[in-house]
Amino acid sequence: MTEKPKIAMYWCASCGGCEEAVVDLAEKILDVVGLVDIVFWPVAMDFKTEDVEKLPDGSITASLINGGVRVTEHKYMVEMLRRKSKIVIAYGACSSWGGVPALGNLYNTKELISRAYNEVSSLNNPEGASPQPSMDVDGTTLELPPLLPRLLPIDQVIDVDYYIPGCPPTADVTWNALKALLSGELPPKGSVIGASDKALCDQCPLNESKPDKVLIKDLKRPHQVIPDPAKCLLTQGLLCLGPATRGGCEALCVKARMPCTGCFGPLDRVTDYGAKAASFMASIIDLQDPEALEEVVDKLPDPVGTFYRYTLAASSLGGSVRGNKS
């Protein structure tokens, strides 16, 4: 019998949602297990990193990696998997663009650590202890992996062949991608697989409700307005990022009457998701008077968290450039 393709699945700085997303394939997962040899999947299967290290380079057909690179071990693991794999696929928002944890890139690691261990109100830490890369505990040296200065999408550490978007990718998107992978019918390297080539509006049931001219006079945050469920949320002043976000989820959030927050990331021709999203959003604010404009923009105190919720690490600047000033 011919050898089944070898598949590895691995996580870095992720929440586990991507693993759950794979489990959500439900009965399909059994098909997958039937078609491939899973050589590495820490969550569900009993294989050791050592075993993977022993495999000849390029012997894994494809590695699906979720989570961004936050600590040194992540770096080691993705580099190792790259060597072992013919194809590396970034699975989910975090490994593709950093995801939510990349919002940490707005601060430096010192700030991240001191907030958690020296500032929060529930602490009782008089001697101001905090995790150390290496410390001596009654004669034993214990080591902790240090945080990297920034959380990185895996393609800033290794060469990535394909991307499966979403926070997390939906079961359908995952399934489409796996089918493409197993059928060998893959698009050019660097492509996004499993999802749509068009923005979410293409899949959104409310797109038809849009007037010819999409213009707004005011911005609203979701808790400030009860939207008309039959009308496009954007035209009601809500920051729905559907127009800038890759389709694939079938507008799950909009169907729950909440605006799209962009977890499927940018489309192929977009270099910086947040800048593009901000550009279209600003474009439709139908005001000419600078003061009036400032007033409306004031209603959005966190443009970065809003427009770069999932893509900060992959943005042009990658995070804060305050340098040492904070």
Binding site: D212, P243, T271, K276, S279
Partner: protein
Amino acid sequence: MSEEAKVGVFVCHCGMNIAGTINVKEVVEYARTLPHVANANEYVFMCSAPGQDLIRGGIKKNGINRVVVAACSPSMHEPTFRAAMAEAGLNPYLLEMVNIREHSAWVHSHEKKRATEKTKALIRMGVAKAVLLEPLEEFRIRMQPTSLVLGGGVAGLRASLDLAERGYKVHLIEKLPTIGGRAVRLGTIAHSEISGTDLLKPVLDAVESNPNIVTYVNSELEHVDGSVGYFKAKARRNPRYVNAKCTLCEECIRVCPVEVADEYDYGLSKRKAIYLPFKEAHPHIMAIDPVACNKCGECVKVCEPGAINLEEQPQDIEIVAGGLILATGYSPYDPPIGEFGYGRSDKVLTLFQLERLLDPEGPTNGKLAVSGSVPKNIVFIMCVGSLGITENAHPYCSRMCCASSLKNMIRITQLYPDTTIYALYKDIRTYARRDEKLYELATESKIKFVNFEKTPTVNVGQVGVSVQVRDATLQENLVIPADAVILAVGMAPSEDLSKVRSVVKVGCSPEGFIREAHVKLRPVEAPADGIFLAGAITSPKNVLETSMAGSATAAKASTLFSQEEYRVEPITAQVTEELCSGCAICIAMCPYGAISRKTVGEKYRAEVDRALCKACGACVAACPSGAMQQAGFKDTQVLAQVVAISERRTGS
């Protein structure tokens, strides 16, 4: 694109203009090191014949397929170099000009070293973009030298005549049963003794007799497709129910049982459901008011020539035109009932109604009769509906009301010497050469001018009407008993504009008039090519200004029609349908209405009419999917320039 980019860089000395500051040798050396650069040359004058030969040679001999010319501003010689490329058989849009004279040599002559460095950077950026340039084809439309004129008032008539006299065919569409518009209803024309009708009669005749003009009265524009050079219009001609056989015997009028207010006299008189709009109506036959008519058929019975057909149906008219002239005019400001007593007393009239009263052909044959008698005390309240003097008033000045009020005051004092006239004004604006004369005349003819800051009030009582005003000069309150109060109302945007805007892609100014391409520089053109704006459709105008505007649009249209074909610069926006989600963000970005939403399968997609696109690129910057791109200024092309600001080798 498939073939590998081979860039030729041509650096010009421009005599000493460039070479005097910039070390051209060094720059050329540097250019040779750039990715995709096949060769780099320098020459004393690149725009000269030998200079151009270098370029042509580069293309022919060295197989260069991209050209970067580092010289003067593209506004100088871009056409020159494009031509040279075309001659050598290379698409002229594969040229990138780097402006190292105006933008470097001439402004940095004090820092030669750094100017040279900057020049290298500029060329590096130019090359980076050139590598990604794509061949573009000019887009041409066959010109249809015919115009569609919407509106048969002074502006539309003037435009139609001018064009017809130049030999261009005109389709003139008028909603009412007669052409002539509102000016024909003016009792008297300022600085003359004649009425509006007399003034315009020759124009009406000329229009009717001109073979190049096809007039459609009782007609409305329903739909317009296409763009400059080739508009396809659909109009509907509503039934008039009376045809050319009509001899104006007026038997029908006699028997017609229906009587309604005559809009021609602004409601001061009545007419039948079948009527002649006015003495000089064109066409000169009866018309039936479809709203008023009860189809009783009495008129049909008495009509000898059998000119009446109550069964007449609307007709569709199809018109193809290279340009559109919109001349739908204005609507007089219509005061809300009660404003200055309007509608509460027949002693309160608008300026337009006064015009009718003073028209020898008017309802009173020119006799100034207000609720039966000639008024002794007449109070003119100026700026009604203008300068924001009331809540409902427009913010702007209507320009014509001062002059025409004064004109009428003077006429009244001449006709009825013992009337007393009060002119309550916020401001008197009799601008320009001749109108100021009216003001002088008026002040001589013992008219009492009262300037107000606080808007006057009109009290309508059992006994009579009085006007209360505080004289801003004397600082005292006056109560003036009035036999007649004339409200000098201004001009408001025509009620028909919303209909017009639903058919033709034109924008609206904050005041509600149609917006010009440029207030000062392109006052009679709409932003979209081939659409012209005549008369009060863009702002209040008097008869003089309106005919000027009419002629101006005709001139503009002629210039357009004089071309065989209309050329569109190829750097327009284009959408890749496969990537378009139909989010419609782009549509509102376009001031020219060049983008529309079409349905493909179930889904929306954006569509660009290249003929309408002016290549600003606003939709491209807004397009959240990158589906919309501008030829010659694609994201990738501009970004390549941006990335090339750094020395880091890219794309090599």
